[in-house]
Symmetry: C2
């Protein structure tokens, strides 16, 4: 591969995505330069909005080139509409930079659906991958748990889940820095009889995989307690699980805030406790490992949360940097190659032929 | 129906179920007598354990009869095993009391799987019901949201979801005391294109039902915010959603407790805030509306949480009392009758025949 900047990790940024764009993206890039000396940015965005910010950031200018774009994808654009009309948008240009190998990875806090459709179109799937998935880190008091699919594929079969397991393993190695991450299938109980046909079939299949550190079925509390490193499920279930957790955490935080605001001495109690609460809750702060990846496409595309401020965008940039530095996609290809060699899961027809001695 | 106690609501109690049995169940019954003058209990349990507690509760003795049983279902018994070996258990006897119309409703904090299998065997389904479901109240800062199925049926079709919607409506009327509860289908987005085939088909079907206050697709935050009264989904998704919420709430509470225990002045802050926190978090305390019902069987069976103390068991008893008083099952039969009259959803074959003019 030929990249434009020898020895540098190049990140293409959609400066126009998310509620706090472009400021929160551009300032995050500036902070990243302070921490990572071998990073370089290509920033895409509207000149009138981005150029004035860049002017005030002399350090970033040394680490970045700015390429003005004429349009931006809106949050409420339908994905297909964005694909059709957004050829000149900052989001599309940032993805194209990865496609034409000007950048190692792209980061956007914009419209998720549009980002996925554009990434699939511009980058294509990795060789052998059936379905790209949305992968991210569920925050807990351990190191966090990698979860996929968080919403790209509502319906899956066991072979797709097996690919998710291998992609999740590679992602956990790069982002959680675990050499042999444990993998579980999300289910409604840990006994082998539990679950749908999908979970039972996947369980049989996963047990055949020597390359996977498969620990069996896991439940919600294994994820919230951080007792598993990678949890796989279909995109419907994963999305529901993550959203219920977000909703419940917000509910608890709202009640906590209202309690502090009850009267003058609860306010005082709040002042005393606030720094300790901030420190302790930062353990499960999604900012730590912000950045969901659209994994399985032929290029690194990281989605920062739409409401991200500088801190969370910085975290997404660091995730993209780690994934690029670790060459996640090359590792996925190697991982899937070994699976093919063992003849597990992928080519059902040839497997049946082999089992029944029908091979030519 | 002939009940043994004219004018009383009779509850059969499995005194041996749950982590804190029999004390937490029997004391809860005593507390219920204080609040509900027309309640009566039939208490089933081992004589050596239950009789000494009853001796110390003279009030309860006026409101209850005690029937000693020789065995109890264990928490780790497999459902089929409990069904075969548990004929003489306190759990089975309590269910049988509902089956032979000695009691209006049964309450147990014991083994959920065993309770479901026994209830199905001893009571059978309500006429016309395809699949009984586990129904309960998801706590939020509004009145709570009724959710079903929480785990009885991992895989469902849209006709089953429609029955869930009607059963959920009847349950919400009885337990949340809402005349026209709103109903949503749990999904990964609110737009009509979102979700699996199941959600799309169910959406089309629900829209044809004039008897349902159907508001469309809902997401996790609609439930945690209390923006919908009844949410329906398959038992796999419902179980995962509830467990992720429980896990997340526990995670937040653990962090809060650890923060209070940091040093002497956080402890002091904790002392100041504790009564206000308790008051505010009691809004979402599952004790309020504890008691999941196995809905769709021909009798009222309420499951109290296995770890329940007196307060939560009391809440489960009150839920059983309300469901019996409101004659929930008679209302479900009426509700489903009106659906049949409108020829919606239930009998696909005759519907197709009607549509294509093939009726004889």
């Amino acid at each position: 591969m030929v990249f434009c900047m020898q020895g540098k990790i190049v990140i293409s940024l959609d400066a126009m995505g998310g509620d706090n764009a472009p400021d929160a993206i551009v300032y995050a890039a500036d902070r990243a330069c302070q921490e990572l000396s071998d990073i370089h940015f290509i920033i895409y965005g509207k000149e009138a909005e981005v150029a004035p910010i860049l002017k005030g950031l002399p350090r970033l200018s040394q680490y970045a080139q700015f390429i003005p774009t004429i349009s931006a994808v809106n949050d409420d654009d339908k994905p297909v509409q964005a694909l059709r009309n957004g050829i000149e948008s900052s989001m599309r240009k940032a993805i194209d930079a990865v496609a034409n190998k000007s950048a190692h990875a792209c980061v956007s806090a914009g419209n998720t659906g549009a980002l996925m459709v554009m990434a699939k179109k511009a980058l294509g799937e990795l060789p052998g991958i059936k379905r790209p998935a949305i992968i991210g880190v569920f925050p807990n008091r351990q190191n966090g748990t990698v979860i996929l699919d968080m919403g790209a594929n509502s319906e899956c079969d066991e072979n797709i889940l097996l690919q998710f397991a291998h992609m999740g393993t590679c992602f956990a190695r790069a982002v959680l820095e675990k050499e042999k991450p444990s993998v579980g299938i999300l289910n409604i109980g840990t006994e082998e009889v539990k679950g749908r046909v999908l979970e039972k079939n996947a369980n049989s299949l996963f047990k055949q995989c020597p390359h996977l550190n498969y620990i069996g079925f896991v439940e919600g509390h294994h994820v919230t307690n951080g007792e598993v490193d990678v949890v796989v499920t279909d995109g419907f279930t994963g999305n529901i699980a993550v959203k219920f957790s977000e909703g419940t955490a917000k509910l608890c935080m709202d009640i906590l805030k209202d309690t502090f605001n009850t009267n003058w001495y609860t306010k005082l109690g709040g002042v005393v406790l606030k720094p300790f609460l901030q420190k302790n809750f930062s353990e499960i702060d999604p900012s730590h490992k912000n950045g969901a990846m659209f994994i399985g496409v032929n290029g690194i595309v990281v989605k920062s949360h739409g409401s991200s401020g500088i801190k969370r965008n910085l975290s997404a940039i660091k995730v993209a940097y780690a994934l690029a530095k670790q060459e996640i996609n090359e590792k996925i290809i190697t991982e899937l190659g070994s699976l093919k060699k063992d003849n597990i899961g992928y080519d059902i027809v040839s497997k049946i032929k082999k089992t029944f001695g029908m091979e030519s």
